[in-house]
């Protein structure tokens, strides 16, 4: 009575997700049998990310759907999934020392990172609102636990609880929106919604879409739905913050793009004024508050809000090139932000006291290479030429100007200028101020060095030779238009 078949090709489509989830369970077992062997755990987790990434990249991106149109394998999904998996791999490489020095190195940490990545892959490859939603929740629940990972620290507890309460609150809105969308189309499948074109009931469609947007605004932290983000970023273990700030942002924006552009292409133009407003307010508020921060993690958190504002320009523009700019910027943002958090994590010391600007005074003399890397990441975040921060912003801004959004870009450029002040403050402290106290940092281990080098290289490469990747992003975006 129900004509439905599952063929091996369906499973082939999901190989990356399957490898990741089986790997996550394997790590839970390894924790039982290999309690002390931290290196094996770290490299296993890294290998799983690499295998999943290579499987993902080896797939054809023909737009084939699987499991009765639940997932779709296209270049768009592949691009963002690759961003997520690279971010996960880098986080695995960077996290070990941090956890070992706090005596909290456990296999569950890696396992949860893998589960979070599975969730993100489903978010960006899902074609049904149900799959996107379940992926989002798998991601969120893994992250609630990762944020509260240092369970004997009050900071971590409070951050996790805040994240969970506001995350669940946002999920409520998102679900209510999905319910009304279901009510107006009779299905939750984006493909069917797209082919249907116009809803059965316009009212329900509007209620549904606006509630879905409220839900996603919470998840990507657009002003006025941003208040959870600084606290969560500050309270979470620093490697987790780096992971959240980059991969989660990419996945949430990608899911939002797929829902809006693929599912409801007719609505983009109508909602433009709202996107315009959200974008302008988000970047301004993020940058202005970031100016007043003395804690580096909080400063980077507000900078993340500001960047969500820049990315919203791509949605406001609503064309293929705008979305391609977002994709490219998300790729670049991955490297500059994970790199910045890696340096913060290295310098912050055991008890998280060294997070203010003063503790960075004079560090350049003792740690010239790491300080140089930090300088590069700060320049990239501020958008200096020769870094990916510049090419990414340049691409998004020029696209917007070509479409006539001059005032929005004026605001964005002014914001970028403001942001230079607080990014350069870190550099000034490192290079211009005298060293205040002698502190010995244990030398960075090889995996972390490798990861940091990769970030530096990628920031420069994407900044100088962005051509191939911009072409790739444009091809990727054409899959959802």
């Amino acid at each position: 009575m129900i004509d439905f078949q599952i063929v091996p090709a369906d499973f082939y489509l999901l190989l990356p997700e399957m490898v990741l989830s089986v790997g996550a369970m394997l790590l839970l077992f390894l924790e039982l049998f290999l309690k002390g062997n931290k290196t094996v755990q770290q490299w296993t987790a890294f290998a799983i990310f690499v295998v999943a990434l290579s499987l993902l990249l080896s797939q054809e991106s023909s737009g084939a759907t699987g499991f009765g149109m639940m997932v779709r394998s296209d270049l768009f999904g592949q691009f963002i999934s690759a961003v997520v998996l690279i971010g996960g791999g880098l986080t695995v490489l960077l996290g070990k020392e941090y956890l070992v020095s706090r005596e909290w190195h456990r296999g569950e940490y890696y396992s949860l990172l893998l589960f979070a990545s599975v969730g993100m892959l489903f978010m960006v490859r899902g074609l049904d609102l149900l799959v996107i939603f379940l992926g989002l929740e798998l991601l969120s629940i893994s992250l609630y636990i990762l944020v509260g990972y240092f369970r004997d620290r009050l900071f971590s507890n409070e951050a996790a609880l805040k994240y969970l309460l506001l995350g669940a609150f946002a999920s409520g809105f998102l679900l209510y929106g999905i319910a009304y969308t279901y009510g107006s189309y009779g299905t939750t499948n984006l493909n069917e919604i797209r082919t249907m074109g116009s809803p059965e009931s316009m009212t329900f469609h509007w209620i549904g879409l606006s509630l879905i947007l409220v839900g996603f605004s919470f998840k990507v932290a657009l002003v006025p739905f941003h208040m959870w983000l600084p606290d969560v970023y500050q309270g979470a273990p620093t490697p987790v913050t780096g992971f959240m700030a980059t991969t989660t942002k990419a996945a949430a924006f990608a899911a939002m793009l797929r829902i809006l552009f693929y599912g409801f292409p007719a609505d983009i133009a109508e909602w433009m004024p709202l996107f315009w407003f959200l974008s302008a307010v988000t970047m301004t508020v993020g940058n202005v508050i970031a100016l007043q921060q003395s804690n580096l993690k909080r400063m980077l958190a507000y900078s993340a809000i500001a960047h969500a504002g820049y990315l919203m320009i791509g949605v406001t523009v609503g064309t293929e090139t705008g979305a391609a700019g977002m994709l490219f910027y998300l790729l670049g943002y991955l490297f500059m932000n994970i790199g910045a958090f890696a340096v913060v994590q290295y310098f912050e010391g055991k008890d998280e006291t060294r997070l203010d600007f003063e503790s960075y005074a004079g560090l350049a003399k003792k740690h010239p290479l790491i300080s140089l890397a930090m300088t590069l990441f700060m320049f990239a975040l501020a958008g200096f030429p020769l870094t990916v921060g510049f090419t990414g912003k340049f691409y998004i801004f020029t696209t917007a100007i070509n479409q006539g959004f001059v005032w929005l870009i004026v605001i964005a450029v002014l914001n970028s200028l403001i942001s230079v002040y607080y990014y350069l403050r870190v550099v000034i402290y490192m290079y211009m101020k005298p060293l205040e106290e002698e502190i010995e940092f244990s030398p960075m281990e090889l995996p972390a060095k490798v990861a940091l080098t990769v970030c530096v290289y990628a920031v420069l490469h994407l900044g100088v030779l962005p051509g191939n990747f911009i072409t790739l992003a444009r091809e990727a975006v054409s899959a959802i238009f």
């Binding site: 009765g68 639940m70 396992s111 589960f115 379940l134 369970r151 059965e200 329900f204």
Partner: protein, 167 residues
């Protein structure tokens, strides 16, 4: 018959939901929530979602609420020091916004009657276990598997957060 049952269940659900939000003692809130959940199970039955009505009672009113009560008893949080007061501007604003939200949905939904007519006549087998099972394990097989991962993560997380002597 259905009308009166709906109004009985709906009134019970709304009143006890309000009680959840306005009582001071967490235990009273939890018990009121159980009443809301039971009334909702009744409403599910009226909408012929038989399987979900049963699941609502077993999972929500059973498992989830027991978890809530267990934690309340374990932590014994007592009453809040600062409680809702009508003079607090925050309370007023939130209440007004909620009423505005209800009013908005009310007016919007009523405006689209041309689409929503009467609920269709009885469709005996819509929400039966058989139907749910057939759909769940064919069309919705993949989400079902994702849900299993979700529960596994929750399990790992709960152990990681609360098990003693973990280090």
């Amino acid at each position: 018959m259905t009308e009166s049952l709906f109004f009985i269940f709906a009134t019970m659900a709304i009143v006890s939901a309000l009680t959840v939000v306005v009582t001071r003692n967490p235990i009273y809130s939890a018990v009121s929530l159980v009443i809301t959940l039971f009334s909702l199970a009744g409403i599910f039955l009226l909408l012929e979602a038989y399987f979900l009505a049963v699941v609502q009672i077993i999972i929500y009113a059973g498992a989830i609420m027991v978890l809530f009560l267990f934690v309340i008893m374990l932590l014994n949080p007592g009453k809040e020091a600062k409680f809702l007061s009508l003079t607090d501007p925050r309370t007023l604003i939130v209440t007004l916004l909620s009423i505005a939200f209800i009013g908005m949905i009310f007016s919007l939904v009523s405006g689209s009657v041309n689409y929503i007519g009467e609920v269709m006549g009885s469709v005996e087998e819509l929400g039966t276990t058989r139907n749910i099972g057939l759909t769940l394990f064919t069309k919705y097989l993949l989400p079902f598997e994702i849900a299993s991962l979700l529960l596994l993560v929750a399990l790992v997380g709960a152990v990681l957060m609360t098990k003693r002597n973990l280090r």
